[in-house]
Amino acid sequence: MLSQATLTQVTAMVNHVPVVVPSGTTVAVAIVLAGQACRTSVTGEPRGPLCGMGICFECRVTINGQLHCRSCQVLCEQGMEVDTEK
């Protein structure tokens, strides 16, 4: 039996590009699936999620205009606007 969570899909916009994911997927995962880095480090390195649990802040992005959100702790919602940090 599939749970309710796997039956529905949502589309989030990662840097204005639509990414379709099963509901219950975190924004961090959507960003990885979009092939994007979450942020650029102070010396210009691309960075992705490290700890997956809200400790390292490497996955921080802008979500619906809100700065510095830890994308590993936010679930994707339909139409959510995600901008990776440059």
């Binding site: 039996m1 599939l2 749970s3 309710q4 969570a5 796997t6 994911v21 099963p22 219950g24 997927t25 975190t26 961090a28 995962v29 959507a30 990885v32 699936l33 880095a37 979450c38 480090s41 102070v42 010396t43 390195e45 691309p46 960075r47 992705g48 999620p49 490290l50 700890c51 997956g52 649990m53 809200g54 400790i55 390292c56 802040f57 490497e58 921080r60 979500i63 809100q66 510095h68 959100c69 590993c72 702790q73 936010v74 679930l75």
Partner: protein, 443 residues
């Protein structure tokens, strides 16, 4: 809903993993008003993450854990605990008051008794290439997969140290990953001693045998560790030292964590005594600060079993049921011996201190390289001169790393313990009036 709210609880629990859930349920079952706060979107902590909606039927180890997780989740629900998820405590504006925020706003939390069950995080050690995307913690990679990252058909290397590596490898494999190799830094000898000592905990023997079946055929290398991760924009391959032989293996993900370290920041902020990096507690899990208790990985790394016992003791003690709490002391003693065994078995070898090259980044927030840190004699000196540990994670990643690399002791924490919005900070008494009088406040 959040703005300017104030919640009062007889017992307030911070952290919704096994220790926090057990503490909350036991306290609430005594008839007191209990709240539990977690920064994630659901209770369960890291170990029970996603168990409520995970449907991998062939995951036997998961089945047993799911049963236990479901039982405690049920007890939390039935006993009437107020669960406040996606909420993070950032500051203690005055004794007995905690300031917390979520994505929408902030609130104040007050309590008669407070139980800290903030758990542990992975210890990360720097090596060349560890900052590349798709190099994650072992638990970090598992958390991502639990949160929807497709892993089927992906080639994964698991490295570091500790029992978590095997559990993660088994989980990922059950979800279709190809585990190229598990690199465990501990020696075969110390793992053999660990195996023999396990006979003191029959339930853990069963778990170990199940794990062994789950990872049958996966190369497991002791005396092994990652030497470098390679890739242009993301990970492409990893060079490992495999029992003294160096080889490079192409892969999609590297999950690498060197056992666990406690999330002690909030305990430090509240002034709780800390011994050897862990929250210091008495028999009833009471800290050195009155009305504040600690339970779970915050006091020692002993796994779910110990966390559940400590959580229950703290919950019962906070609800003033001391005789019921005392009944669990024997179980705790036994579980603590397992924590000591883990500590002995998975102690880091000094060779790992030579993994970073001069240009390897140690502090990922401020991109501070190993060579810039090498000359400093203390964490404070390094912070003042290089900004190491002064970035967004506030030293949560590089603190434990430099503690191992240079034997530095991290000093006190400063509020807010997590980055917070200016409106939240303005809520701290005094500043809010000041902002209001200047006409820039929100209320």
């Amino acid at each position: 809903m959040m703005r300017e709210a104030r919640h009062h609880f007889d017992v307030l629990v911070i952290g919704g993993g096994p220790a926090g859930m057990a503490a909350a349920a036991r306290a609430a079952e005594c008839g007191v008003r209990v709240g539990i706060v977690d920064d994630n979107f659901s209770l369960g902590g890291q170990i029970w993450r996603g168990h409520s909606d995970d449907n991998q039927k062939h995951d036997k180890q998961g089945d047993a854990q799911r049963g236990e997780a479901a039982r405690w989740a049920n007890r939390v629900r039935i006993s009437g605990v107020t669960a406040l998820c996606e909420l993070r405590v950032v500051h203690q504006p005055e004794t007995g008051v905690l300031l917390a925020e979520n994505l929408d706003g902030f609130c104040e939390l007050t309590y008669a008794n407070l139980i800290l069950a903030t758990g542990a995080r992975e210890r990360f050690l720097p090596f060349p290439g560890w900052t590349l995307p798709n190099v994650m913690g072992a638990g970090g990679l598992q958390a991502m997969v639990k949160c929807g990252l497709p892993i089927r058909g992906k080639r994964v290397i698991i490295a570091g140290t500790g029992p978590l590596l095997l559990a993660v490898a088994a989980y990922l494999r059950q979800h279709g990953a190809e585990i190229a190799v598990i690199c465990e830094q501990a020696s075969w000898g110390s793992l053999a001693q660990f195996g023999v000592a396990l006979f003191n905990w029959p339930a853990k023997i069963l778990q170990a045998l199940q794990l062994k079946r789950d990872i049958a055929g996966v190369p497991f290398a002791t005396n092994s560790w990652p030497v470098a991760a390679h890739g242009k924009k993301a990970l492409e391959s990893v060079t490992i030292s495999r029992a003294g032989r160096v080889e490079t293996i192409p892969c999609d993900y590297l999950g690498c964590g060197f056992h666990l370290v406690p999330n002690v920041e909030l305990a430090l902020l509240l002034g709780c005594g800390v011994r050897n990096g862990f929250g210091e507690v008495d028999d009833f899990q009471k800290t050195t600060v009155s009305s504040v208790f600690c339970a779970g990985e915050l006091t020692s790394i002993g796994g779910v079993g110990l966390a559940l016992i400590e959580g229950q003791i703290a919950g019962l003690a906070a609800a003033e049921r001391t005789s019921e709490a005392k009944a669990l002391f024997g179980d705790r003693q036994n579980a603590r011996r397992f924590a000591q065994l883990l500590d002995r078995t998975f102690r880091l070898r000094s060779k790992l201190r030579s993994l970073p090259l001069p240009e390897t980044i140690v502090c990922r927030c401020e991109d501070v390289s190993y060579s810039r840190l090498r000359g400093h004699t203390s964490w404070r000196s390094a912070k003042l001169h290089t900004r190491c540990g002064m970035g967004t994670c506030q030293g949560r990643v590089c603190g434990p790393a430099t503690q191992f690399l240079f034997e530095w002791t991290p000093d006190s924490v400063r509020p807010p313990v997590l980055p917070a919005r200016i409106e939240t900070l303005a809520a701290i008494a005094g500043q809010s009036e000041m902002l209001q009088s200047q006409g820039t406040g929100e209320y």
